[in-house]
């Protein structure tokens, strides 16, 4: 509670403790970080599911059934840009989509490694907690909305409001990004190898946006920051790991941060806690 004093105004005499001032995480605390119903899977055990003629609910159920049987690698054939495919997977898994996804694809996931050999529609990987997602073509708007953790990679372009409201994790875009990228972002990092359209980082609270090209304009609260050596090395490694052919060297990237101290997110997100505890 250090630094927080009782604030009295005409409207509010509540004692504001501040969420982030509470030390709610102890590394010694005994917390079970596995989900109920998690299954041990073998990545060498492989199966495929054909999405032709079945709806999202049925496909998602089939994925769960395969996980239950211990399959660690699942290939989805003919996804046909259907909506809400592969959502809510809270398990280690190697998931490959042989085609494009519609809206809300692979949302609310925690753990799997996903490859999409196609395009993704609006709100892909929304609320993702951990894991890795690689999209081979382009992504629609709200890519990685409210992202909490993990790596979200698109090799082509991403639409408007990429990383809106994100609270952790990394979004890496091989091409360009649309307007309002990083809108209201609270934590995490966005890397755009190409250009960014208008109002980048509008109303951002915290977090960092790295841009290889040029942002068309900065939104309210977004200001240029200074790159340090660690960040250059981190960028280099991230881009190399994602196998993105970025024409701009990491040292030439520009860094943008929040300009106003409206935040205090000193504590760790659940996904980060998991990282520490292994």
């Amino acid at each position: 509670m250090a630094g927080i004093t009782k604030r009295t105004t005409a409207f509010d005499d509540e004692n504001l403790s501040g969420r982030s001032q509470k030390l709610y995480f102890e590394v010694t605390e005994e917390e079970n970080y596995t989900y109920y119903g998690n299954h041990e899977v073998d990545f060498n055990k492989r199966t495929s599911i054909d999405c032709e003629g079945i709806d999202a609910h049925e496909l998602n159920q089939k994925i769960r059934d395969a996980i239950r049987k211990g399959y660690g690698s699942i290939v989805i054939k003919n996804p046909g840009a259907k909506h809400s495919l592969g959502v809510g997977i809270l398990n280690k898994l190697n998931l490959i989509f042989e085609g494009s996804l519609g809206y809300f694809g692979i949302g609310c996931i925690d753990g799997p490694t996903v490859r999409v050999n196609g395009r993704v529609g609006w709100s892909c990987a929304e609320n993702m907690m951990s894991g890795k997602v690689v999209v081979e073509n382009n992504a629609g708007s709200c890519f990685g909305a409210a992202l909490r953790g993990g790596d979200l990679i698109v090799k082509g372009d991403a639409g408007a409001r990429t990383g809106i409201d994100m609270k952790g994790g990394t979004i890496l875009i091989g091409g360009n990004a649309g307007a309002y990228t990083g809108f209201m972002m609270q934590r995490g990092r966005i890397i755009v190898c190409g250009d960014v359209n208008a109002n980048m980082g509008d109303s951002m609270y915290d977090g960092i946006i790295f841009v290889g090209g040029e942002p068309h304009s900065l939104g309210t609260d977004c200001v240029p920051g200074e790159m340090n050596e660690h960040e250059v090395r981190w960028l280099e490694q991230k881009i190399k790991n994602a196998e993105i052919d970025c024409k701009v060297p990491a040292s030439k990237f520009k860094k943008y941060v929040a300009g106003r101290m409206l935040w205090n997110y000193d504590n760790l997100e659940p996904a980060e806690k998991k990282g520490i505890l292994g």
Binding site: G80, A81, K82, S100, G102, N138, G140, G178, A179
Partner: protein, 313 residues
Amino acid sequence: MCGIAGVINKQKTVNVGEQMGLMLQGLKHRGPDSTGYAMYGTPLKKGFVMRFKISENEAEKVNATVDSPADLKNRKNAVDSILKKHGAKVTKESSSTPYAFRYIFDFKGDLTDLATEIETVEKTEILSIGKGLELIKDLGDANTVSNQYGLDKFMGTHGIGHTRMATESDVDIKSAHPYWAFPFEDVSVVHNGQLTNYWGNRRVLERKGYRFNSNCDSEIIAVYIADKMANGIELEKAMHDSLDELDGVFTYVVATKDQLGMAKDHMAAKPMVIYESKDIVACASEEVAIRNIFPHEIKTYDPYEAEVKVWQA
């Protein structure tokens, strides 16, 4: 929410009715209230094709009208006599429902005068007049409307369509999209979104003498674009202007006798996915609609904010 779609086949006449039907059926979940098609067949060398309705298909009474057969007969006779009075000679006549008709007629007079007088007949609305444009809209999903009007074999170059979830006005035919830009031949529009300066713009256009048949905000886009084009402005420029002059969140698709265009607002708040190849361009609110005509994997993309695109047939 609403779903919009458009398709244009470059220098080729195909079964565009089937293409649009498949795409719009794929968008049914975005708007189940009504479905509309604006399709462009081979342009007539002589005369015009007109689609009109003489009654309303009320939402509560699907496939039924509140008007008696005698009322409908009287209204149709009134339309026929107005056409005759203006010197229009009907060469072909057909109807799929008791309240909707398709006429092909030879005419050399003033189209605005004719259209205006036809619409003085009670409950009568011209859905479209053009050389190639045929606009069909009714309550129900894409398959329902297509079957009702026999659209699955419509041969043409391009078309646009709409599945409507009513938010701003009633569930009826007059509020269904697409909108024809009265009285300009062959201009039609479908729209997904909300326009917030509708009434101000409507008053400006009404003062110029344009009539609005509904209170639906989308209708203004068609009239706005047609007004600009009537003043010699290119379609693409008119669409760029609309991004600054129309306020709100919107994505719309517009078609003329040989062009298809799309525009997205500055906020990019409404979706659009585009597939382009050398033979065909298809755009829709969701990729799943385009995939109904291309079952194999295709490379698609989202246009960015304030983007305008126009394709030639």
